[in-house]
């Protein structure tokens, strides 16, 4: 089988993605969650604010 390579591949090596294992750098990713649960003072509060009937009312037309 003849190997075919996309022409734009000829460009030299590109910058690698930021390593997700570098949590201290901006954009490098935060630390893995260590509490076993979302922050109870903020995220759970945000979750409780969600109207339990929101999905029941939500209607869209079929898209692609």
């Amino acid at each position: 089988m003849k190997h075919i390579v996309m022409p734009e591949r000829r460009e030299g090596p590109v910058d690698p993605m930021p390593k997700p294992s570098g949590p201290t750098e901006e954009g490098g990713g935060p630390k893995r969650p260590d509490t076993g649960s979302p922050d109870k003072d903020s995220l759970l509060k945000r979750m409780r604010k969600v109207d339990p009937k929101q999905a029941e009312r939500y209607r869209q037309r079929t898209g692609e």
Binding site: M1, H3, I4, V5, M6, P7, E8, R9, R10, E11, P13, V14, D15, P16, M17, P18, P20, E26, G27, G28, G29, P30, K31, R32, P33, S37, P38, D39, K40, S42, L43, L44, R46, M47, R48, V50, D51, P52, K53, Q54, A55, E56, R57, Y58, R59, Q60, R61, T62, G63, E64
Partner: protein, 508 residues
Amino acid sequence: MRLFGLETEYGITRDDLEEVDPVVESMELVRAHLTASFERRWDYAGEDPHEDARGFRVSGLAQDKEEDEFAKLDAHRPFSFHEMKSDLVLPNGARFYNDHTHPEYSTPECRRLKDLLAQDRAGERIIQRAADRRNQSLGGEYVQLYKNNTDFHGHSYGCHDNYLALRSIPFPQLTAGLLPFLVSRQVIAGSGKVGIEAQESGVVPGGFQLSQRADFMETDLSVDTMHNRPILNTRDEPHADPKTYRRLHLIIGDANMCEYATALKVGTTQLVLDLIERGAAPSLELEQPVTAVKQLSRDIDLKAAVRRQNGQTITALDIQEQYYRAAEHTLAGLDEESDWILKEWGETLRLLAQDRHALVGKLDWITKLWLLETFMREERIGWDDPWLASLDLAYHNVHPARGLYLGLEAEGKAWRMTTEADVERALSAGPSDTRGGLRGLCIRRFPTQIRAMQWERIQFTGGLMPRTLEMGDLFEPADVRACAELFETADSPLDALKAWNGRKDTGS
């Protein structure tokens, strides 16, 4: 790396209305973004969703009848076709418009994952800023936008991933190589969903599955996108020189909130395309791919095995493992980004089998499940509680103060692959090494001298004849940069075009 891009249709609603007209709301939302320098009429010439990659043209699509019905209704509205579509091309080369009653953001073409992630996140910001402006005019925070794929009542809308591929690869070879991979890709790229749906015909509430779109897959291959949805869409609109290229248009994917999931979804897919082009993809024909998509989606323990044509069975993780091993064997050392994808792909498969909690904040379905299970424990509710579907919806809200994923990210529990500086740059400019960036540059420099645009060409005003920048084969980064330099420095687009055409004629 090859060219790729994402098209995302957002869900839209109004909290203050009992009944929402999605045509008006989508149109008004896009137009809320409008400034004088942005509006450009999209040139629909050359777009034909009836062309099939299998080598024929269909006479009609399953959605045509419904579309005709809507067109009759829309004819009575006080808006023209162009007003309803409200097609905008943005300074970053992205397209933002009203597509099938959903606001849609299409990233500019990218060749690096980091650019794609930044452009995808820029899309979330652009669409939310449009909602902010719209809400300002409405006098309250009524318009809500969701980067998801279902309304929980049997209506789905898409997030399509697109890849430039060589037409010299026979389509059956693409099909055979891609189908098993796409059926199992949801273990990495699924966004998770509460309940089970059927296309426009019903819903079974409760329970959790990997994918938002799996319920809506109805056939292996089809040119259709709104009904009879296929695992592998055969629409043949290359948006490039059709003799050399095809555009692989995948509609099976979920819209991802996690940047890491987006990176792996697109990254692993392009590696599989590389494998197919080298004749190195594993041979794993499944007996019933559509059944397998649903079966695997509904098994959050990842233990379900689906039947292969050879009579054996195989799990989703084993399918992915075989593709990963083939890619590792064939493509390791290709370039740094490919090596990054390989490393993260292998590690993710290992964690899915051994320690999935470590993937919270990386993969959407695991993150959403973790949030919902925590909430169920706190509130002492079960999977039959309708609140969970609402929380599922809220996970995808792109309002920074309402969205559950964005809240998680703000708490530092989601893995960012982009920086805020990356996203800011992506709001104002496209990638410098693709025609998408060149498109954005033309919008920024010559906003009043553009007659029409589409993916592969830009028509400028001036002179008796339209002057067109053809980009159907403008893919080499060095060529893109050379062309961009001319448009960056020329006094007029026609000067730049003249210089570019002269350069091409002399072959320099």
